[in-house]
Symmetry: D2
Subunit: 326 residues, 4 copies
């Protein structure tokens, strides 16, 4: 199949690469010409603007956007909507808010354009491992695009099949699903990221407890000086907490056992926040996912106003004078 790609950051470029390797044809555009040079050498056809992209693609066209979510993606969709023809498809593979998908699909349908939202997991490993995709949109359109998704997906690989799946959608075992109508793809991806935050925080807290097992707050005979790299490694085999995140943790600790190369400042992306908003909307008690997000917020604060409030109250009722942070 032929696909147009807009946005050649790491994700976009590697998606093009993986498609090319699977025999698909790609026309690509990025406002920065740099990343396209290498891709051209690998077989992609580079164009210099959106009109050229649309002109080059054969109808019905399929244009995949891999751009920062928000205004940049919104503007690109608006521009494409003025260029594409009825029956063409826009895929948004970025980290878009699912309610924006619902709105866009409705707006584009008025021009007989199709919109498909693809939550894409895989990060820097996707080129090699394949991309796990959660797809939202009209069934007929998603079915039509199946060769694209099948090529990008990881496939069954060496992962053992799940017993009891006979008769179920075989795409899930290949690493992609049609989750539902517009927005469903990004909704499922959003929750994926929310869970990711929770899993990461669970490991992080556990390893911090291991780390501080030699804390001076403990009696001398109850302290342990544990080798965290070995702990992470041993849990990779036969334990209940084995996971890909643990694999990555074991790698990080093997190379930097005290993680001195990190400052402890942790960003968060929209999905973690939207997951909490969704939980609140649904009245689901998502305390762990919320706590995981808040831990990131807190990591970025030097001295929080809330903490100063606590000190002020303690001084008020008890005359406690808190020490200054060193």
């Amino acid at each position: 199949m032929q696909l147009g790609m807009v946005g050649l950051g790491r994700m976009g470029a590697n998606i093009v690469r993986r498609l090319l390797r699977h025999g698909h044809t790609c026309v690509a555009y990025d406002r920065n010409p740099e990343p396209g040079r290498q891709l051209a050498a690998e077989g992609a056809e580079m164009v210099s603007d959106l009109p050229a992209l649309v002109a080059t693609l054969k109808p019905p066209r399929v244009v995949w956007l891999m751009l920062p979510a928000g205004q940049i993606t919104e503007a690109a969709i608006h521009a494409l909507a003025g260029l594409l023809a009825p029956g063409d498809v826009i895929i948004d593979g970025g980290n878009t808010f699912w309610k924006d998908d619902i709105r866009r699909a409705r707006e584009l349908s008025e021009k007989s354009l199709h919109y498909v939202d693809v939550g894409t997991s895989g990060g820097v490993w996707g080129l090699e491992r394949g991309y796990c995709m959660m797809i939202g949109g009209e069934k007929a359109v998603v079915d039509r695009l199946d060769p694209i998704f099948a090529a990008l997906a990881p496939g069954r690989g060496e992962i053992p099949p799940t017993p009891g799946r006979a008769g179920r959608d075989p795409r899930a075992e290949q690493g992609y699903i049609h989750a539902g109508p517009s927005g469903a793809g990004h909704f499922v991806k959003m929750v994926h990221n929310g869970i990711e935050y929770g899993l990461m925080q669970a490991y992080a807290e556990g390893f911090e407890i291991l780390k501080h097992a030699d804390s001076a707050e403990l009696p001398q005979e109850q302290r342990f000086d544990l080798d965290l790299a070995d702990v992470a490694e041993v849990w990779r085999r036969g334990s209940v907490v084995s996971s890909w995140l643990l694999d990555l943790t074991a790698m990080a600790l093997a190379n930097d056992p005290k993680l001195d190369s990190f400052a402890g400042y942790v960003e968060d992306s929209g999905e973690g926040r939207w997951t909490i908003n969704a939980a609140v909307e649904e009245a689901v008690p998502a305390i762990v996912l919320s706590a995981a997000l808040y831990a990131r917020f807190r990591s970025r604060q030097e001295a929080s106003f809330a903490d100063k409030m606590l000190s002020a109250m303690r001084k008020g009722f008890g005359g406690h004078q808190e020490p200054k942070k060193s």
Copy 2:
């Protein structure tokens, strides 16, 4: 009544003062002679060691310990146990772990000594407002000591009576209760402090949300520059969140609206921790009380290992390079 006081820190000294003002007699000891000088001028009889204290008190003696919980209190009790006579009473008014009370009461009863644990709230305001006391021990002993407790307690004051309390223990309205057998006093005081942490954190989070209502993360037209001192003040009258902690907050913000005099480093005492341990033992889901304690732990960390773990994982799966903390 006559009371022996061991430990003349702010709490101990003010307890002596309040008893003297109510016509009681006090013999007092502190290894540091300084705080006793002023108390002697106010009518306390100062002694220079524990044997002198015991020799000076008339049997059956009542000795109140107001010392740092843990080893110092434990040692004083051990020393007193060798000096006192059957029928004498040791009161521990400090912040002792309630299981220690249970053990001590059992040990002292073998020498026919009585042990009373008094959880004492009031801080620097106790001399003026009176002390809220939660008492554990044998009924006959607690009853015998009633004149002491009645003098120390705040009394009904101008606080409106609670409807429906006819027939209930009138001491609660005076600001002290006999909570139960040994340990019950400190247990109730422990939970009091656990709640205190939760209340403080609730205010602290709320005021931080108000504070950051002008955050650059928000759209310009949705930002507010709120006067936190006025907000705290207005809530003192007619709102659902009025409390003594809010009164103290209003004072602090009136004098230091940005709380610049605080570094955001917040200590915790044993009671907050023991409250969590008690919740875990009882299988009670105390998430707010736990979160309040953990916020204090976090306030004292510069860069947490947990946060570095998160950054290490993010780098692992997404190639994210976190910014360094400024």
Copy 3:
């Protein structure tokens, strides 16, 4: 002053009553004629629809809406906007989402109508205690309405003044503030309610720990059978956790010590949810306020899907067969 009131639920009717008692004039409307009958006897002028309300009021008119937030309030504002004249004022005293206030103020200003949002705390006690009000809107308009707010506010009462407030806005000590531009009133009220949730949950968890101090999970000699009504009462005097919520708790426990009249099903209103959304938008770690909200969500679930997931995993890795809930 003359005020038009739309909505005569408990809050609306009592606001009218309090204004009448302070010598103000009220014209009132509710689609249900019942609540107005008694108010008419107390001096309010009742009208039968919005046009009559507008016709009766003297310009510049002031119309206070005390209606359920959301569509009902929105529809009333839309209707009034078509009836009122330039310079007239609409006050929304309900629990409106603050971003709706910002939008409405902008829309109404195009018709030279003024909009004032008033977060109103006081509940069933407001008639007697007065209403704590957090006000958003244009300064000149809020100033013009001052007689109304001054009458509704609790006033200084017997609450001791906060030291250090010399030179600050005296309205805060009377129980009302002009918090900022449109939306600021409801924003502050929203956070008030968020804090309220946190405070309530802190008490609730603490009392549950006290309640289960006699749990069979504990060793026999470490159990206490505590009188929760007395504990709540004693903390009202001299303790750090005294508050109005504690006063209410003491009343409830005095009359129903085991709270058998409650099923443990707890509603939440929009403000608690919006507070979390605001925290997420501002990147403020509001873990206690979130946990308090989630506890209410959880209280309304019989058997949560999340819990079933846990059991399913436990069965998967350990063969654990969870007992059925009785």
Copy 4:
């Protein structure tokens, strides 16, 4: 090597089996003769009491206890201590509290007996997958027992090696580590379980959000009816949240998509609780691990006293009458 096994529950019996299959010799005892019948047929030598076990084993003896933690294990160790000879080894492979390990090792060393604590993960899958083991004790003793541990461990298997481990302890890659002195094994296993709780809760909350994506609390056009079995399956390949727990979740959902076979009542074991206690002792903010434990506590409550408290307060300040749970 020759090993004595005490306790032939599922774990104990399968450990014997795995050792026999690897050419080791086992003498086994359980007070219930049933489980031993099959094991005898597989090559284990069954004995009828502890003295017979000791008499049958050749010195220096190695006795592995696989019994319920607490009094039962404690009693068995006490009995064995009276039977074994200097130089013999007791291994506790159960879920023992790590501070008990420290105490026992000290007590047994007075009789020149060695004590090794082995945190063992693997559950019902251990016979097939091998057991992940975290070992505490004296280096020379742990080294001497290496053939046992090597046989029980999963081995490298098909799990890709972690780059950068050259020069590190090769046992970690085989699935077992010598974590440190006595107690270190169970300490690391405890934190493993604490993390396990956190991971499970993160998945559980995420899937509950997916589940309720069709909640009637949401606007009609924003609802999704998601196939959770397919979502779990798709995340197994190429996503960031892939893990063994997710594999198990996919199995459970494939066979029981609504998890109707579960009541939502979730047990917890000691390790989750001890992890929280350790965090509190170390002053590590373990909010996610705590929340995960508390969710289990909550799952076992019908109507919590805390929730009734909330309703009582709401009635107090707002006259809210909560609906009864159906």
